[in-house]
């Protein structure tokens, strides 16, 4: 776990910047004239270029430089952010992503993208429009005959501490063009108050160059925000100071004889910085493993606290009782806070799908409105990561199968633009994420025909609508008449189903012919802690996730001694199969006289689990089982009980499935 690997840090940062860039480009497509969007995209590019070069990602830096140059024309208002441009820019963004992820491999295609980009940008010249802040900086003023520039700068007071060498900076400046350097010593204080670690000397550099702005910008890339810097063309009126960057406020042009006459008010600058860097200032990047460790520790604390409470409950010492209660309050608070740290708004995931829909829309020629709601809904980080793939499948399905073509929509009297909605909302201790479209809806007859063709059901099988819809999650099931590049191969929905099962979630399908389909995923808020019901089977204790428990009943006397073949319970008129956990687990210890049945459900199915004793409810910190036990499907994990011993957590989805197959075996056996 090398968390300080700088290239990895760069990669992470670059990934975020690329996400930002993508979001910006997509927004720009909706609002092509928005200067803020253009600038923020440009800034993201610029930072990637700078830090890429610093960490040795030269290919990235070179490519981004070209990209930036082309995009600069948009920024300056010489080109418009057309749809075509956004398209190429998105390709370019993908290319940068590839370059960053595989720095060692030679990745081709960059030149093609760049030439496309240049073509698009240069092919649509537009006159600089109304004088927006961006347009004011048209090169007409900048790239004229000015040959001599006066640069004045004071380094930030912490520059030396962070290893900046002013001489090297001057060397770099010298590479831009012939320079004349004058040291400005008027700020150096008396010797007795001089702090040798603070750079007191300012520099006045006269540079001969056509337009050194961006070159100088690069030299001071990492200092710019907190330093004083001004650049004036010497042969023009000194008032025409030129910003290096919009958000960096610069000193008013100093007169040549009075260098740095008007230092930038530091407060204003700090404020601006705070505005642009808000997320950086108020958040901290922590490796996920550390959070997992923290969670483990808190889990231990909760367990230790539970033991203390047990002891305190038996004791008559009031002081002990008081402190035990205090500790209980504190540790439950700590647990909630720690859980909160792991929660991430789902918006980070939704952002990715905008691009997906954008691309699909282009590929299939279906105009689509993609609407997301509930981005602020928070879910456990691991959960969000594992949701990405299933949601991709669902969205693809909606776009490809759900939405009709524009012509057919017109024929059906619907607006030509299809709608795909992605939303997240809390419901109880769960989060419901739904993907809905306003397309044709599921074709029940076709699903049925297909299922019969695939021998999933027989023509006689009677199914409710819900059961029929669940068939689309069967492996290899696809009703698409032709296989497109996107979907129709029948892989996907079963993967979705499996992933969601693995997250202890469920999928609901609701559809109305001609009006659309909604797929709703219901997921627990977290994977780390669940409420459990503690039961005993033989001498072992097991936890059943409480969310899956429907009810508990006593195993009727008459059924106890019965032979294996007829393990069904009559629960208010419906037959529920039951599994004797003693048999499943191969336990030989004598059974309890009055056995209990815990009815658990998963999706549509239900199964009764026969146990010796129901001990009670407990909060359970879930621990994953190691690879050594990953082949045992009846358990989804383990937990540590109040007395320090380990209890296994039953995998209800798996048990329900095995109960169901038991039913099938028996019913079919009887039918045959």
């Amino acid at each position: 776990m090398n968390i300080s690997d700088p290239t990895e840090t760069f990669r992470q940062e670059a990934r975020e910047l690329l996400d930002l860039l993508e979001a910006g480009l997509l927004d720009l497509e909706q609002d092509p004239g928005n200067g803020d969007l253009i600038n923020s995209a440009f800034r993201a590019l610029h930072t990637i270029k700078g830090s890429g070069a610093m960490f040795g990602f030269t290919a990235v830096a070179e490519f981004v430089h070209e990209f930036e140059t082309a995009f600069d024309r948009v920024r300056k208002g010489q080109s418009e952010a057309t749809k075509a441009l956004i398209g190429v820019a998105l390709d370019a963004k993908d290319h940068i992503h590839r370059l960053i992820e595989n720095p060692d491999r030679r990745i081709t295609g960059g030149d093609v993208i760049l030439s496309q980009l240049r073509q698009v940008v240069e092919g649509t010249p537009v006159e600089p429009v109304a004088p927006s802040p961006v347009a004011e900086r048209t090169p007409a003023q900048k790239v004229d005959t000015t040959r001599l520039w006066r640069l004045t700068f004071f380094l930030p007071s912490d520059a030396l501490v962070y290893g900046t060498n002013p001489l090297l900076l001057l060397d770099e400046l010298a590479q831009i063009g012939p320079i004349t350097v004058t040291a400005l010593t008027d700020r150096i204080p008396d010797l007795d108050i001089l702090d040798p670690e603070v750079p007191q000397i300012g520099w006045q550099v006269d540079i001969e160059a056509d337009d050194p702005t961006s070159a100088i910008d690069d030299v001071f890339l990492f200092l710019r925000d907190s330093m004083e810097l001004s650049l004036v063309p010497l042969e023009r009126a000194p008032a025409a100071a030129i910003d290096l960057e919009e958000h960096t406020q610069l000193a008013a042009a100093p007169r040549a004889q009075e260098p740095a006459a008007v230092p930038v008010p530091p407060r204003a600058k700090a404020q601006e910085k705070a505005e642009t860097d808000k997320p950086a200032a108020s958040s901290l990047r922590v490796p996920a493993e550390r959070l997992d460790e923290l969670m483990d520790r808190v889990g231990e604390l909760v367990i230790a606290q539970a033991r203390l409470s047990q002891i305190a409950a038996l004791s008559s010492d009031t002081a002990l009782k008081t402190i035990a209660e205090e500790l209980e309050r504190l540790s439950s608070g700590l647990r909630d806070t720690t859980m909160g740290i792991r929660m991430v708004p789902i918006g980070s995931l939704f952002g990715r799908f905008r691009r997906l829909v954008h691309d699909l829309s282009g590929e299939l020629g279906k105009p689509i409105d993609f609407i997301t709601t509930g981005e602020e809904t928070e879910l456990d980080k691991t959960m969000i990561e594992r949701l990405a793939d299933p949601l991709v499948h669902l969205i693809r399905n909606s776009v490809d199968h759900g939405l009709e073509t524009a012509e057919r929509r017109a024929a059906a009297g619907k607006p030509a633009k299809g709608q795909v909605r992605l939303s997240a909302v809390y419901s109880g201790a769960e989060v419901a994420i739904s993907v809905s479209d306003d397309g044709a809806g599921l074709d029940a007859a076709r699903i049925r025909a297909k299922a019969e063709e695939n021998r999933l059901i027989t023509p006689e099988t009677k199914l409710t609508d819900g059961e029929l819809h669940q068939l689309i999650f069967a492996p290899g099931f696809s009703t698409a008449k032709e296989v497109t590049s996107l979907s129709g191969r029948g892989v996907g929905m079963d993967v979705v189903k499996r992933t969601i099962d693995g997250l202890r979630g469920t999928i609901e399908v609701s559809t109305r012919p001609g009006e659309g389909t909604t797929m709703t995923l219901r997921l627990p808020l977290t994977l780390a802690i669940i409420d459990g019901m503690l039961v005993r089977v033989g001498t072992g204790r097991y936890t059943i996730p409480l969310a899956a428990v429907e009810e508990c009943v006593e195993l009727p006397e008459g059924l106890e001694g019965q032979a294996k073949g007829r393990n069904f319970l009559d629960i208010r008129g419906s037959l529920v199969p039951y599994l004797r956990l003693r048999e499943v687990f191969g336990i030989t210890a004598p059974r309890e006289l009055h056995q209990k049945v815990v009815i658990v459900s998963s999706g549509e199915g239900r199964v009764g689990l026969v146990v010796d004793q129901i001990i009670g409810n407990n909060q359970t910190v879930i621990k994953q089982l190691s690879k050594l036990h990953s082949d045992i499907k009846s358990f989804s994990g383990a937990t540590i009980l109040g007395d320090g011993s380990v209890a296994l957590i039953l995998d209800t989805a798996h048990l329900v499935a095995s109960g169901q197959s038991y039913v099938d075996r028996n019913l079919n056996g009887r039918a045959a």
């Binding site: 499943v584 050594l628 045992i632 320090g644 011993s645 380990v646 296994l648």
Partner: protein, 165 residues
């Protein structure tokens, strides 16, 4: 192993009548016997789980892999918590030991490769055999023993061993 010059720093443990040496650097801690939670339907080699400072750790019984008898734990029984590589991933596991002896250096020169024949145990489970004080010390190949990918089940190995005994 026999090629390396430096002596092997090893923790020696006894399983039934045999002395075993495990790499001391992989050992995290040695525990007295703690309550063991049985995992139903698990292989006898890894039939239990224990709580090691709030972590749920699988408990392995090497005696199963070496076809030994498995009497009930007594006052000498210890659990050696160590890091083992399972299918390429470092994992913390507990190992039951009938007795834990000491940490010792085993001269690299004295370690010999396991003979292919004439051994009671599956040769691929033995990395080498060292000598100390005139006796033999078995150096088990933990990576092979904990490997779950090669399709052989430890249980099958056991019956195989038992029948050949």
């Amino acid at each position: 192993m026999s090629a390396s010059e430096a002596p092997m720093k090893a923790l020696t443990i006894r399983l039934q009548d045999e002395l075993f040496a495990v790499e001391a650097s992989q050992v995290r801690e040695i525990l007295d016997l703690v309550p063991i939670t049985e995992v139903p339907n698990a292989l006898p080699f890894v039939g239990g789980l224990i709580n090691v400072r709030g972590r749920v750790v699988p408990l392995a019984d090497l005696r199963v892999m070496f076809g030994m008898q498995r009497p009930e734990p007594d006052q000498d029984t210890r659990i050696v918590v160590m890091e083992v590589i399972i299918d390429g991933e470092p994992t913390i596991a507990g190992i039951l030991a009938d007795k834990v002896h000491d940490v010792t250096d085993i001269e690299a020169a004295s370690i010999e490769e396991a003979p292919r024949v004439g051994m009671r145990w599956r040769p691929d489970f033995v990395k080498g055999i060292g000598k100390r004080n005139g006796g033999f010390i078995i150096i088990p190949d933990m990576e092979r023993i904990f490997d779950t990918t090669d399709g052989r089940t430890p249980a099958a190995a056991t019956t195989e061993e038992r029948s050949s005994l």
